[in-house]
């Protein structure tokens, strides 16, 4: 059972989500304004927040930032088609993933599960996180700078390793080009998204992940390291 908080000002959508998610066995709380949403994060302590970017009182981005000030709860942002800039801003501001309206419940459920699992993994192995990161069959030894997949060692340059380690640390979260450049390449970088493209391409070759199922491309936004390559629909059955 997952505790989900839905923050959206459209009563109809909130109602549809509440019924749909409850029927799947989730526990659902709702908020129709940004301020209420922030309060609910503190009171209800959800495992996941579904946050609409267009709220009547506070901007969704602001809500996301304020939640991040006191909570690591995964946030999935609801956005309109064509709103790429705000999507990227939300992800840079701490959101984990986004979903474009209108969406089906299965897709939402899949995104929800990915976000919750990785967040649990991040907090769950908090003590050993600094030493070894595990994402599915991928294992990253931070001490010896070594990566293995299915027990087989992968030869990586130091930049490739850093990129993989970074994505693994934020497994499940959509990392924007900007975030990756700033944190892996350094503060002087931010606009050179083709560097990231080149390195992810090399990483996929070495990980034998040519289709990008482990290292997912989020078109126009960035990349996401996802533990299981299975599609969400298959999982549900």
């Amino acid at each position: 059972m997952t505790k989900v908080l839905v923050v959206d000002d459209d009563a109809a959508l909130v109602k549809a989500l509440r019924i749909g998610l409850t029927a799947r066995g989730d526990e659902v709380a709702t908020a129709q304004s940004g301020t209420d949403g922030i309060a609910q994060v503190a009171l209800f302590r959800p495992d996941l927040v579904i946050l609409d970017l267009g709220l009547p009182d506070l901007d969704g981005l602001e809500v996301c930032r304020r939640i991040r000030e006191f909570s690591d709860v995964p946030v999935i942002v609801l956005s309109a088609y064509g709103d790429e800039r705000r999507k990227v801003e939300a992800l840079d501001g701490g959101a984990d993933d986004f979903i474009t309206k209108p969406f089906g419940m299965a897709e939402l459920e899949a995104r929800l599960r990915v976000a919750v699992r990785h967040s649990a993994a991040r907090t769950g192995n908090g003590t050993e996180a600094s030493a070894t990161l595990r994402v599915g069959d991928l294992e990253i030894d931070m001490v010896h700078h070594m990566a293995t997949r299915n027990g087989l060692a992968i030869a990586l340059t130091s930049r490739e390793f850093e990129l993989l380690a970074y994505l693994a640390r934020y497994a499940g979260k959509v990392c924007t080009h900007h975030m990756i450049l700033k944190d892996v390449w350094g503060p002087g970088y931010g606009a050179e998204s083709n560097y990231v493209r080149v390195y992810t391409h090399r990483l996929r070759k070495k990980l034998h992940d040519d289709e990008g199922r482990l290292l997912r491309t989020v078109p126009g936004i960035g990349y996401q390291l996802v533990a299981d390559a299975a599609t969400p629909q298959q999982e549900t059955q």
Partner: protein, 511 residues
């Protein structure tokens, strides 16, 4: 070709000068003749210089020349012995005659030149003055049509042809390209005859005559207006009489006019471009708002439907019914949006026609509630109207739409089950009776700074609550009735939208 007027002027002046000179000579002859035996030969020679100078000054060179010849003859015949003949005896007298002739010729020449120089200076001064007046008209910041009018009137006053016409390429008048066809853009003076018009505006392939009319009457002068090596237009003066210098003056003015016209055209182009940009920007905002408004109900419909279709979920019968109801309501909402979109298109295209009929308020409310039946539960709506409220004189389709939009907003934005109040009262004067109708809800209300903006087409307050078309359409429809619509600033809890519509005056009181 010096114009006839100028030609006549020259002749008249010469004739006047000659007559004056001859008259003076006659008078002087009559005065001197009795004393000729007492005078030295130098005296008449000097005296006869006077009429020559008069002739030159008044009548120009030729008048002076005639006066000189006559003076020569008078001097020779009447004052040099033997009197009465052209014969001259004394060699000294020959000398006197020769000196007289030379002096007369030199004086005539010098005076003529001085005279011409003075005339030239005066004319230049006049030209400068006229050109200043002409160009004065061109420098003001006026629209293109005013400018064209200004040009032709100025030319008409300055040169007094029968008429003046300014022709521009037809395409330039319409959109701003270049085309072969000329159109009369402005004219002054007498009306153009049909023939004249045809001869000016003949299209491609037709022969256009700008020369003399048949019969060779003094005719048309056409000056091309050229700016930046590009023809801008054509200035045509019909039956104009020109002095030589007028031509240069008109030419100079035409150049200035060309620059002014070009500048005005460029300015218009800039304005047009800016307008197009504005329309583009507006269209972008509209598309954003429309897609937002359409997507919102779609999102909940899709979420609900995908829940219903999913196997393996434990939807209770109540949940199922709830979701189905939600889908129906959201479909209604979508339908309302589409209606509003169509209404908006009607407003935009200017096809909005108000067809007023008489209708009581409660009937109007019923009609509106029927239109939003799914979205606004009847039991939430409370009607509070004075019993003596006059009949509304309105297009019930349009005002019904206004009320429906306000009710829908109120229901959507306030807590479930909270009351929505419709109030109505009579305002205005017996001569101009109006009814004020308001819809109040108990929702979050509208911030003071938003109260104007909510009525703008596609005002998006951060993707927030009252975005979209409803209020903008309400405003357009209310204003089409001569009414006004506003948000009541005095209300602190919820929102109260107020609008006024015309009512029937005295009849209602009899009823």
């Amino acid at each position: 070709m010096p114009s006839l007027q100028a030609f006549n002027g020259t002749y008249r002046r010469a004739a006047v000068g000659t007559s004056a000179a001859l008259a003076a000579q006659g008078v002087l002859l009559a005065v001197l003749l009795p004393f000729r035996s007492h005078l030295s030969i130098a005296t008449p020679a000097l005296v006869f210089l006077v009429p020559v100078i008069i002739g030159v000054v008044v009548g120009g060179f030729w008048a002076g020349a005639v006066a000189a010849v006559v003076g020569f003859l008078f001097f020779d015949i009447f004052f040099l012995p033997p009197y009465g003949t052209l014969t001259v005896h004394a060699p000294a007298n020959w000398l006197a005659l020769l000196v007289y002739l030379i002096v007369v010729l030199v004086v005539t020449r010098v005076v003529t030149q001085l005279h011409a120089a003075r005339d030239e200076a005066r004319r230049r001064e006049q030209d400068a003055g006229r050109l200043f007046e002409l160009s004065q008209a061109l420098i003001g910041d006026i629209g293109i049509s005013e400018l064209l009018d200004h040009i032709v009137t100025t030319v008409q006053t300055a040169f007094s042809p029968r008429w003046t016409a300014l022709l521009l390429p037809a395409a330039a008048l319409a959109a701003g390209g270049a085309g072969p066809d000329l159109r009369v853009a402005a004219r002054a003076g007498q009306e153009l005859t049909a023939d004249e018009l045809t001869s000016l505006t003949a299209g491609g392939g037709q022969i256009r005559s700008l020369g003399r009319d048949r019969g060779g009457s003094p005719s048309r002068v056409a000056v091309a207006l050229v700016a930046s090596n590009r023809p801008v237009g054509l200035l045509v003066l019909q039956e104009v009489q020109f002095a030589r210098q007028d031509r240069a003056l008109l030419g100079t003015f035409a150049n200035q006019a060309a620059l002014a016209v070009e500048r005005a055209q460029l300015q218009e182009q800039v304005l047009r471009t800016r307008l197009l940009e504005e329309i583009d920007r507006w269209r972008g905002a509209m598309m954003g708002a429309v897609s937002h408004d359409l997507r919102t109900p779609l999102a909940s419909v899709k979420a609900a439907v995908s829940s219903l279709r999913q196997d393996g979920t434990a939807l209770s019968d109540v949940d199922r019914a709830d979701l189905l109801e939600l889908i129906e309501l959201q479909s209604d909402r979508l339908a309302r949006l589409v209606t509003n979109l169509l209404d908006m298109t009607r407003i935009e295209s200017g096809a909005l026609a108000v067809r007023p009929t008489l209708m009581p308020l409660d009937e109007l409310v019923d009609e509106s509630l029927a239109a939003v039946s799914g979205l606004v539960p009847r039991d939430r709506v409370h009607l509070d109207a004075a019993s003596d409220l006059p009949l509304l004189e309105i297009d019930h389709v349009l005002v019904g739409q206004v009320l429906a939009n306000l009710l829908e907003n109120a229901a959507r934005l306030s807590p479930d089950g909270s009351p929505i109040r419709i109030r109505a009262r009579s305002i205005g004067t017996p001569a101009v009776p109006f009814v004020e109708i308001s819809v109040a809800d108990e929702g979050p209300g509208i911030a003071a700074e938003e109260r104007e903006r909510v009525f703008e087409m596609f005002s998006q307050n951060g993707g927030g609550a009252r975005s979209g078309l409803g209020l903008a359409i309400a405003k357009a429809f209310v204003e089409a009735h001569g009414g006004t619509i506003w948000i009541d600033p005095a209300v602190t809890r919820g929102a109260r939208v107020v609008f006024t519509v015309p009512a029937l005056g005295n009849v209602a009181q009899h009823a």
